[in-house]
């Protein structure tokens, strides 16, 4: 059976021509028309759009509409006051649930305001029977009274059951006019007309490399992609829209540092040291802020760990952490406004734009596949050796070392994923992830115990809630410790899985060849 098709009409001046062609082949009966002015909203990573939904605001009320449907959900007005909307600002109900599921920790941001005109027609067959339904959705965006408003149009063709031949005839006529059905809807088409995109941001590393590509060029491509992600997150991070901007920025910095470890004999020692230092500074200057974010994001989880009697102390502790977070953010913003910060990003960008970033060392010209295989193998074997030596009596720091090793291996696999045919790299990452989750949790729980201890220094001396806070912190620390021990107990089985034959096969397949 046919499904609704979407034709993007990039040049609205062609509408008359299209209409004439349709009228030449079908009797056309006009239907309803409507005009609404609405603002589209989504998270920075387009979570709603990617799930086929549009969140729009008309006047104060928000509506959710599914792609291909005209009907929207009943409107809801969010609480006002917060600088950036999140799901939590909406009244309880389906809309709030959908928003929470789409992006629990992301802000909901306005994308574009359009005036949307919708007109429908029925194409008629014998005896004036409707055989295809058409909807033309046109959008106009831009300032009021703009001399050159920006226009986009989508023609939606909905088949009528039992009239497939007529639907195919329509497709043929449109094809004759150079129109083919596509993926665009009125939102993506409106944004395209404005030179913007939607749904393209992802925090994943996605670089397409060729096995024969010189190593230096490949590394440069990876580093450039990572810098690109950093830049995309910079604005949201500095405006403090939500905590994910800083997080994604930091992950890109860490990945860049990891990529630099691949550049021996590609870049000069001096270059390597210089850029590692620069990137380390970016990491260091954001560590404190991220730690505090993690605490605040986990507030509900921590509250569930301690008994009711300790809740008031925990509340007071979190109030102090929130204040500290404000202070840390101001400090970070001062750094981000400094010459040092600007210089790091500008010089790093300038380097990656210069021919030097393709490498001048002896290994710069060697095929990247060799580099990838060699370095992935080294990390994999090292992870196996480190993990294999861990016993129930090993100190926490041994698990920490293994965690770092696994992280590097993971980054390498992600950088070089495109070099390996089939889905071996993807599957190897999946196997690794299960072990990493365990090690990550173990480490987080370990670090958090120390942090809670550290937060006690925030309590002003002689504060009336000092005693409550200290008790709550003590309770929390013992919960964190017992959870850390649970993770440790799970480690052996997770590692066994990772070091087993199934994972080994995957790595062997990837790493064999020369």
């Amino acid at each position: 059976m046919h499904k609704t098709e979407y034709y993007s009409i990039s040049d609205p001046a062609r509408l008359d021509e299209i209409k004439a062609a349709l009228e030449g082949a079908f009797a056309v009966s006009p239907g309803e028309a409507s005009t609404v002015k609405e603002t589209y909203y989504d998270t920075f990573d387009s979570a709603l759009y990617k799930s086929g939904r549009f969140l729009t605001r008309r006047a104060r009320r928000f509506h959710l509409r599914e792609k291909g449907r005209e009907a929207a959900s009943a409107g809801a007005a969010p609480r006002t006051g917060s600088a950036y909307l999140t799901w939590a600002d909406f009244p309880e109900g389906r809309l709030r649930d959908v928003l929470r599921e789409a992006g629990e920790i992301r802000a909901i941001l306005p994308l574009v305001t359009i005036t949307r005109h919708t007109r429908s027609w029925a194409l008629l067959g014998a005896e004036e029977k409707t055989v295809v339904r058409l909807r033309l959705v046109e959008s106009v965006s831009g300032e009021e009274n703009d001399a050159a408003p920006i226009r986009a149009a989508i023609l939606e063709a909905e088949p009528v059951r039992g009239y497939g031949a007529e639907f195919e005839k329509l497709a043929e006529i449109l094809s004759g006019l150079g129109l083919e059905p596509g993926e665009d809807d009125i939102l993506s088409a409106s944004l395209k007309a404005r030179g913007e995109t939607i749904g393209t941001y992802s925090s994943r590393v996605s670089v397409s490399l060729d096995p024969g590509m010189p190593s230096g060029k490949a590394i440069r491509k990876i580093l450039k992609a990572l810098l690109e992600t950093m830049k995309k997150n910079e604005d949201g991070m500095l405006r403090d829209i939500d905590t994910e901007f800083l997080h994604d920025f930091r992950v890109s910095v860490r990945r860049s540092r990891s990529a630099l470890t691949l550049t021996r004999d590609i870049y000069t020692e001096e270059e390597r040291e210089r850029w590692k230092d620069a990137l380390r500074t970016l990491g260091r200057m954001t560590n404190r802020l991220r730690d505090l974010d993690i605490y605040l994001l986990g507030k509900e989880k921590y509250a569930a760990m301690v008994p009711p009697s300790l809740q008031p102390g925990l509340e007071a502790l979190f109030a102090l952490i929130a204040d500290e977070r404000e202070r840390a953010f101001r400090e970070f913003r001062a750094f981000a406004g400094s010459d040092e910060y600007r210089r790091i990003l500008l010089s790093w960008g300038a380097f990656l734009d210069s021919p030097a970033s393709s490498g001048t060392g002896g290994r710069a010209g060697k095929p990247v596949i060799k580099l990838a295989r060699k370095r992935i193998r080294k990390r994999y074997e090292s992870a196996l050796a480190l993990g294999g030596a861990i016993t129930d009596d090993s100190p926490d720091s041994d698990l920490h070392t293994l965690r770092i090793e696994c992280k590097k291996l993971r980054y390498y696999l992600e950088f070089f994923e495109s070099l390996f045919p089939g889905d071996e790299a993807r599957r190897a990452i999946k196997q690794l992830k299960s072990l990493q989750d365990n090690l990550g949790d173990f480490n987080d729980l370990h670090v958090q115990q120390g942090s809670v201890h550290g937060f006690l220094s925030l309590v002003p001396a002689g504060s009336p809630s000092e005693r409550d806070i200290v008790e709550a912190a003590g309770g929390l620390i013992s919960c964190l410790y017992s959870r850390q021990e649970e993770r440790r107990a799970e480690f052996a089985s997770r590692f066994e899985e990772f070091s087993g034959p199934e994972t080994k096969d995957l790595f062997d397949k990837m790493l064999s060849g020369n």
Partner: protein, 255 residues
């Protein structure tokens, strides 16, 4: 899926008009609706300007499955599909008679589309036949249009005894007055008498109006063509009652 049959032993009582308008109102409410034209005269197909495919016939129909699936057609109204009838449906009785379980065949055929639709309306041919028996078996609600005259009431009472004899649940039969004329005292008296005797008589009355007769000219449900008209409002009131019945008073389908 809730199956609603429009059924009457007598012809020319406004059965098809009711089926077409009620189905249209159901789809306008957002329910996925199918109307099945069982009458070989094909009046509801005609109202929707739909012709059955060349290869469709009564034996394909009673086979069910793909033959039905391929012959359902979308109407001019979103959410409203129609399975058209063919002249060969005049032989539906004979075709059914050849089958095992000949009295429950329609129930089986329609169970195959029950996931696709919220409401199924059956527009039945007049008379008492094997087709009627199938319809009375398959329907969750049987709506019987009654022209308010003593003769119609007599025929309706015969339906009651027929259902008793065949052990159908008479509680699912709901008569409503059709083609009623308030200026005729005979109509008014008959309506009052039957309403007091039968608890299932619906309150909505479909009037005798030329605009309903003219549906055959403009070939649309009157609820779409003249939604503000007196007749369209009468159908809307009837639909509101039927929707209530469907929401609360429907017996669970077998199996």
């Amino acid at each position: 899926m809730i199956t609603i049959a429009l059924y009457s032993m007598k012809g020319g009582v406004g059965k098809t008009a009711a089926a077409v308008n009620l189905a249209h109102l159901a789809s306008s409410d957002g329910f996925r609706t199918l109307i099945c034209d069982l009458d070989p005269q094909g009046a509801s197909s005609w109202y929707f300007r739909i012709r059955a495919g060349k290869n469709f016939n009564s034996s394909k129909f009673i086979k069910g499955g793909r033959g039905i699936d391929e012959n359902i057609k979308g109407t001019d109204y979103p959410g409203l599909d129609l399975l058209p009838s063919k002249l060969s449906f005049r032989n539906l009785d004979l075709a059914l008679d050849d089958l095992k379980k000949s009295k429950t065949r329609l129930r089986k055929i329609f169970s195959e589309v029950s996931d696709e639709y919220d409401y199924l309306f059956l527009d039945c041919p007049p008379g008492i036949s094997l087709v009627s028996e199938n319809v009375l078996d398959a329907a969750d609600i049987v709506l019987v249009p009654l022209v308010p005259t003593p003769l119609s009431v007599l025929t309706f009472e015969k339906l009651g005894s027929f259902m008793d004899k065949k052990e159908f649940d008479a509680a699912k039969v709901y008569p409503f007055f059709s083609m009623a004329e308030r200026r005729k005292s005979l109509h008014v008296e008959t309506m009052e008498r039957l309403s007091s005797e039968n608890r299932n008589v619906l309150a909505s009355v479909i009037p005798y109006r030329s605009e309903i007769e003219r549906m055959g000219v403009y070939r649309e449900p009157i609820t779409a063509h003249m939604p503000g008209s007196f007749s369209a409002k009468a159908y809307s009131a009837l639909w509101a009652e039927v929707k209530d019945l469907a929401a609360g008073n429907v017996r669970k389908p077998h199996g």
